[in-house]
C-alpha cells in the first residue's frame, strides 16, 4: 500500500498550476496510482472552479467589449474539433529489465540511460529551470551511498521496491526530502524511480565522498 503522499499544500499548488513542471509531472503520476489523492485533487479543482467562476463577487458588468465580440466570431469560424487521442504506452529497457512508463511521461523525451555500476540514469527533457528530473534505475542489490541535498530531492517509486533508514517503499510512494535529511536507499530486487532534484547531491561518508564530483551524474 502507498504510504507516502504529497502534502495538501503541494496538491493545491498542483491544482492551481503553480507547481514547477517536473514536480507537477510527479504529482500527476502519483495520482494516477493513488485514488485518495486523486479524490483530493478533484475536490480542490471543483472548489477553485467555484471560486473563480461562481462565488466570485467581483463586478463583471463591463461585459464584453467589441474586441471580444470579434474574438467570439473568430473562434467559431473554425469548425474543426480536437480528436480524442490515446497516449501510446511506452516501454523502457534498462539493465535487461523492461518497464512501462507512466502515462504522464510517455510523450516527454528522455535521454539514453547512462550506467554506473548498479545505477542507471536517464535525464527527462523537461528543461525546468534549476530542477532536474530523471529516471533512475537501481539494479537488484544496488544502493545509493549516504547523501544529503543542499536543495530538495523528490523520489517517486515507479516500480519495484527499496528501503532506507526510515522504512520500506512501494510503487507510488512519493518522498520529498530537504537538505536536513540523509538517506541510503537500498533495493533488493531492483527498482525504477522518477526523481527531481534542485541541486547536486552531497555524499558524506568515507570513500563515497570521492563520488561528490559525479553527484551531478547520478541524479
Amino acid at each position: 500500500m502507498i504510504k507516502h503522499h504529497p502534502t495538501d499544500a503541494l496538491l493545491t499548488q498542483y491544482c492551481n498550476g503553480t507547481l514547477p513542471a517536473s514536480l507537477s509531472v510527479a504529482v500527476s503520476i502519483h495520482i494516477d496510482m493513488c485514488s485518495c489523492c486523486r479524490d483530493k485533487v478533484e475536490a480542490i479543482e471543483a472548489s477553485n472552479a467555484s471560486e473563480v467562476f461562481i462565488n466570485n463577487q467581483e463586478d463583471f458588468s463591463e461585459q464584453i467589449d467589441l474586441e471580444d465580440a470579434g474574438l467570439l466570431e473568430s473562434i467559431m469560424l473554425d469548425d474543426g474539433i480536437d480528436e480524442v487521442y490515446e497516449v501510446k504506452k511506452q516501454e523502457v529497457s534498462v539493465n535487461e529489465q523492461s518497464y512501462e512508463l507512466p502515462r504522464a511521461l510517455s510523450r516527454i523525451a528522455h535521454s539514453k540511460f547512462m550506467q554506473m555500476g548498479k545505477l542507471s540514469r536517464s535525464r527527462i527533457a523537461l528543461d525546468d529551470g534549476a530542477l532536474r528530473s530523471s529516471l533512475l534505475h537501481i539494479a537488484a542489490g544496488g544502493e545509493i551511498p549516504e547523501h544529503t541535498h543542499t536543495g530538495f530531492e523528490l523520489t517517486l517509486l515507479l516500480a519495484g521496491e527499496f528501503s532506507d533508514e526510515s522504512g520500506d517503499y512501494v510503487a507510488g510512494d512519493f518522498m520529498l526530502l530537504d537538505g536536513q535529511h540523509q538517506h541510503t536507499p537500498v533495493t533488493e530486487n531492483g527498482c525504477l524511480c522518477y526523481t527531481v532534484v534542485s541541486s547536486a547531491l552531497h555524499f558524506n561518508k568515507g570513500l563515497s565522498k570521492l563520488l561528490n564530483p559525479i553527484g551531478n551524474l547520478i541524479y
Binding site: K3, H5, E45, F53, Y85, Q90, V92, F174, L176, D178
Partner: protein, 207 residues
Amino acid sequence: MVSQQPSIRCKPRTGNYTAMPDTPSKELADALFAVATKRDKKAFSYLFAYFSPKIKRFGIKQFNSEAQAMELVQETLTSVWRKAHLYNNDKGAATTWIYTVMRNASFDMLRKMKSNKEDNISEDIWPLVEQNENDAHEFSDHLEDKQIKGYLDKLPQAQRDVVRGVYFQDMSQEQLAEQLNIPVGTVKSRLRLALQKLRNEMGDKND
C-alpha cells in the same frame, strides 16, 4: 515553497464547497453539451459571455497583463469550442471542466514565459480525456528514423501551412497571419494544435 515534508497518510477531505444558489450551473452544462453535440453557436455565445470576463480577471491576476489575460481568454475558449466533446458530465460540473481547461492554458503560457518552452505539456500533466487501458506498444526505434515530413503530411492542411511557415520558412507568426489572411490568434492556436498532434504522433523521441 516546495520543501514541505511528505504527508504520511492520505486523509480524504470531508469539507465540501457549496455553490451559490443562483448559479446557472444547469444552463452552463446544457450549453456545453449543445456545443459538443451540435456545434451550437448560440450556446457557445452564452458560455463566452459568462466565462470570458471571469477568465480575463483570472488572467490579469495571473500574468499582471491585460494582453496576456486576453490571450488566456482566447486560448481557453478556443479549447472549449474545440474540445467540448471531451467533457464528461458524469465526472463533474461544467465549470470545473472549464476551470481545468483554463488552468492548463495558463500553465502552458507561464512555462513559455519563464523558460521559453513551447512544448505545451499541460495535457501530459492534466489529461482532459481519461485514457483507456490498451495493449502496451513495444517501444520501437524505427519511429526515430522516419522523416518528420511523414508526420507533417498527416496534419490537416491549415495546420501544416502554419508549421511550414514558422519552422521551415522562418516566418514570424505575424507575417504568416498576414500572408494567410487570418488573425494572429488563429495562427497561434493552429500551431499549438499541430505541435500537440506531432508530439503525439512522434511519441517519445528517446534521445
